[in-house]
């Protein structure tokens, strides 16, 4: 009986204190929605060297290499919009092995999915010297020669950045981006 009482007490407690009426309470967003928003935002905070985008008429190309964790979320974010005066296109590559290396070098921003973990060295080698911003959630990505890694702190998504790698590729990262990130210096 006393357990039932306790249950009842808990139920009453829960109902009374329920914050349901307060609709403006911060809501949680899914992990990959936030990561997709970061990808699109990077376009605003990175300057690519002047470069001819002959096949895409000035579009910014976001490449997703490997098993895509974003799905339609990313497409919805860029659909019908200009970001910093550019159309943004999303290109998907099933895996490194099935992709022409040249098409990776034509991306402005390349997200390397976790499924490509074992091919990481080859992928980074393939885009080396081209102005491609490499982004991944693979652990220790900046140490491996990548540029931006999605990390996590509590329930927040954070960034680990290796600015030297970006610089080598001819990319300029805005100081605003560096301010919110953890900086890796590997050189």
């Amino acid at each position: 009986m006393s357990t039932l009482k306790t249950l009842g007490f808990l139920a009453v407690l829960g109902l009374t204190l329920w914050p349901g009426g307060h609709a403006s309470r911060a809501q949680e967003v899914s992990e990959y929605t936030v990561k997709a928003a970061y990808l699109v935002n990077f376009v605003k905070f990175i300057t690519w060297p002047d470069k001819v985008y002959d096949d895409d008429q000035g579009a910014i190309v976001i490449g997703i290499l490997g098993d895509d964790p974003f799905g339609a979320t990313l497409d919805d974010m860029v659909k019908g919009r200009f970001i910093e005066g550019h159309i943004v296109l999303v290109r998907r590559f099933a895996s490194y092995d099935e992709t022409q290396k040249g098409s990776l070098r034509k991306c402005h921003l390349l997200f390397i999915a976790y499924s490509e973990k074992d091919r990481l060295r080859d992928i980074l080698k393939a885009v080396q010297g081209s102005p491609v911003l490499t982004v991944s959630e693979i652990e220790r990505f900046p140490l491996a020669g990548g540029m931006i890694q999605f990390d996590q702190e509590g329930q927040r998504i954070t960034l680990d950045i290796n600015p030297a790698q970006a610089q080598k590729a001819g990319l300029t990262l805005s100081s605003k981006l560096l301010q919110i990130a953890k900086i890796y210096r590997t050189e």
Partner: protein, 697 residues
């Protein structure tokens, strides 16, 4: 009993107090946010579309609270595994109604999880089911929970705070090359969350109709740029099970634990420091032999179990493909039974591991380890250790090479461990593993390994007396005697597996195994009638003496298959099925018994379904079914069968989106049933309802 009730009351009062605290704190926070903030918090109004997020400032994005799934990561990392591995994620934990860590393991293909009584579990894979399963390693963040004194794991000591578990990796089959001896039938790796990802407050309180009360609180904070910590405390009461005649089984227990974890992440290093203290009060059915009256008094032992551990783990990353790890820990266990028997165990362990690329096609891993266990069994009653105190060391080294035979297609892993243990000296544990990945979705692996199980301290050194509860034809005394000349249990395991995605929504993982036991440690009995007793153990003036001594015997073959299917037909529906078949040859029946562990049941099925009815409301159900298990007694006294049984749980969870969560679960809904059999213990779990309130912020 009076004492017992008082304990329960305390637990209940604590639970209520925590519920009240829980209720008040987040509310205060909601008000603060509403009145004070117009900046970052508005970022995530309900009804906001994904596109709106791209208009946020970087600071606001960085400040958003996310629901972390990371399922992509975990699933991928399994594809290239060359062993039968299954990972329980935090998501799986939330979708199961498991109250205790041990109950989570039912979802793992191949695992037999049976509740022996209120506080004890027999958990096994691939045969030799026993409360004292001595053929499986259990690690918590690298610290071994396998007790070398009796050979096995006390699962109640591992009832960690489920919300702070990152994942549980379960490997069925041998792991001796990497993990050393006693990893015969599997390794259960419990990995707690990095304090970096367990920041803020997590508070939960639970109460159930079967006398379960639990409350837990964690706080995680940041001390510096890359330095994080968390503190936690948990208290729980578990009510008694029932005897088959519906009487109280008096096997309730309580446990209080508290601890911390700190993580430091400078650029190329990860440093973890963690510590826990646990105080358990466990009512375990047992018997104490009285040497003067020559009687065994059967009853309930109020066992006090105090554990403390401290662990440091340092990883240095030279590059993405090269790192070095150092693990150090100290573990203290004190067990006391009021009638006298005390056990004291102190473990010190140091392990070093290094991984590097020799060239394009050789990844080398090597390691060194040393472990010392000091024990003291004082004021013995039923179990006499000779010597009473000992300090025993085990040390070892391993070397493993992963060769890329055809890039992206074919890999060979070969390695061995060489270990020196205090009972049998040097033992080799080699393995060879082949992985073929013809394309992105299919992978096939095969392995052959030799693995050993080292005799436990009791199998080597104990004499145990029992006045058996039989009086016809006349009184029977049993003495179980250790054997200092034992050799290791010696197993060669052949395994193969296949993983694929049948459709993007349907993943299949199949593993098959055949374990050849060249040597099993079992107990052989000789009967003597008074006064023609053997000179040792010390004579007893009874009518008959059954003298059991641990011996090595040829163990026969266990084979089987384990299937895991994971199906996500809709974004809102996840289904999982695990099916296990076990078979064995007739030789096994002669060595697989109540002393060494029983033969496996032929079939085990676990089915799970989770449905997000709305983004806030989720329904979960699971059904676990175990075929009949046979019990062999080498004396022929207690042969038996555990009848097939099912465990059905059904629950719903409602998340407010504001960090609140309410769950209601029905457990063991199919009814009271026995899951294990023991002549001391006839405990059966009871159907129950429980409610849980959780807050995260």
């Amino acid at each position: 009993m009076g004492n017992n009730n008082r304990l329960k009351m305390t637990g209940r009062v604590l639970t209520l107090a925590l519920s009240a605290v829980l209720g008040i704190l987040p509310l205060g926070r909601v008000w603060a946010q509403e009145s004070g903030l117009g900046n970052g918090a508005m970022a995530s109004q309900p009804g906001q579309t994904a596109q709106d997020l791209t208009n946020l400032s970087l600071e606001s994005l960085a400040g958003l609270n996310v629901v972390v799934t990371s399922s992509a990561k975990k699933a991928e990392s399994l594809r290239d595994a060359t062993s039968a591995i299954f990972v329980i994620t935090q998501e799986d934990i939330q979708r199961s109604g498991a109250l205790h860590l041990a109950d989570l393991l039912r979802m793992v293909p191949g695992l037999l999880v049976s509740r022996v009584d209120g506080s004890q579990w027999a958990i096994t894979a691939r045969g030799f089911n026993s409360l004292y399963n001595n053929k499986m390693l259990v690690l918590v963040d690298g610290r071994s929970a396998y007790q070398t004194d009796f050979g096995g794991v006390n699962w109640d000591e591992l009832d960690l705070m489920l919300g702070d578990i990152d994942r549980i990796e379960v490997i069925r089959g041998p792991g001796g090359t990497l993990w050393g001896s006693n990893a015969v039938n599997g390794i259960i790796n419990i990995i707690t969350k990095d304090s970096k990802i367990s920041q803020g407050v997590y508070a939960t309180s639970l109460t159930g109709s079967n006398g379960v009360d639990m409350a837990a609180l964690r706080y995680g904070g940041k001390l510096g740029e890359d330095l994080f910590y968390r503190l936690y405390a948990k208290t729980e009461d578990q009510g008694p099970f029932q005897e088959s005649d519906a009487s109280n089984a008096q096997d309730n227990w309580t446990s209080q634990r508290a601890g911390f974890r700190m993580d430091w992440h400078p650029e190329k290093d990860d440093l973890t420091l963690e510590g826990d203290y646990q105080l358990g009060n466990i009512y375990v059915p047992g018997g104490d032999f009285n040497a003067s009256t020559l009687q065994t008094v059967f009853g309930v032992d109020d066992t006090v179990d105090r554990d403390a551990d401290i662990l440091a783990h340092w990883t240095h990353h030279f590059s993405e493909s090269s790192d070095a790890e150092l693990l150090l820990y100290y573990d203290h266990i004190y067990l006391s039974v009021p009638t006298g028997q005390n056990t004291l165990l102190d473990t010190l362990d140091a392990e070093l591991q290094n991984r590097f690329l020799l060239n394009d096609w050789n990844e080398v891993t090597w390691g060194l380890d040393v472990r010392n266990v000091s024990d003291d069994y004082n004021t013995p009653t039923s179990s006499y250790y000779n010597p009473e105190q000992a300090s025993l060391s085990t040390y070892g080294a391993f070397l493993q090479d992963k060769l890329t035979l055809v890039p992206d297609r074919l890999y060979l892993t070969a390695g061995t461990k060489l270990e020196n243990n205090p009972y049998t000296g040097y033992e080799w544990q080699p393995t060879g593993r082949l992985l073929w990945t013809p394309d992105k979705t299919n992978s096939l692996w095969a392995a052959v390994s030799r693995t050993v199980r080292v005799p436990s301290r009791s199998e080597d050194d104990v004499t145990f007396y029992l006045a058996a509860p039989v009086t016809t034809p006349s009184a029977l005394y049993l003495a179980l005697q250790g054997n200092p000349n034992l050799k290791v249990e010696d197993i060669v395991a052949y395994e193969a597996g296949y993983r694929t995605n049948l459709t993007p929504q349907l993943a299949l993982d199949l593993a098959g195994f055949c374990d050849r036991y060249y040597s099993v440690i079992t107990t052989g009995f000789t009967f003597f009638s008074y006064p023609n007793y053997p000179p040792t153990p010390q004579p007893i003036n009874g009518n008959f003496l059954g003298l059991g001594q641990a011996t090595n015997a040829d163990g026969g073959v266990i084979y089987g298959a384990e299937l895991s299917l994971k199906w996500d037909p809709l974004d809102s529906v996840q289904a999982a099925l695990a099916y296990t078949y076990n078979g064995y040859d007739s030789t096994l029946n002669s060595v697989s018994n109540i002393f060494s562990g029983d033969p496996p049941p032929h079939n085990i099925v676990d089915g799970r379904l989770s449905w997000a009815v709305t983004p806030q409301l989720r329904l979960n159900t699971s059904l676990y079914w175990v075929d009949a298990s046979f019990i062999n007694d080498p004396m022929g006294q207690f042969n038996g069968v555990v009848q097939p049984y099912a465990v059905w749980d059904l629950g719903m969870t409602w998340k407010s989106g504001a960090g609140w969560e309410v769950s209601v679960w029905g457990q063991d809904l199919e009814g009271t049933h026995a899951e294990a059999s023991s002549f001391l213990d006839d405990s059966q779990p009871v159907p129950a309802v429980y409610g849980q309130l959780t807050a995260r912020y």
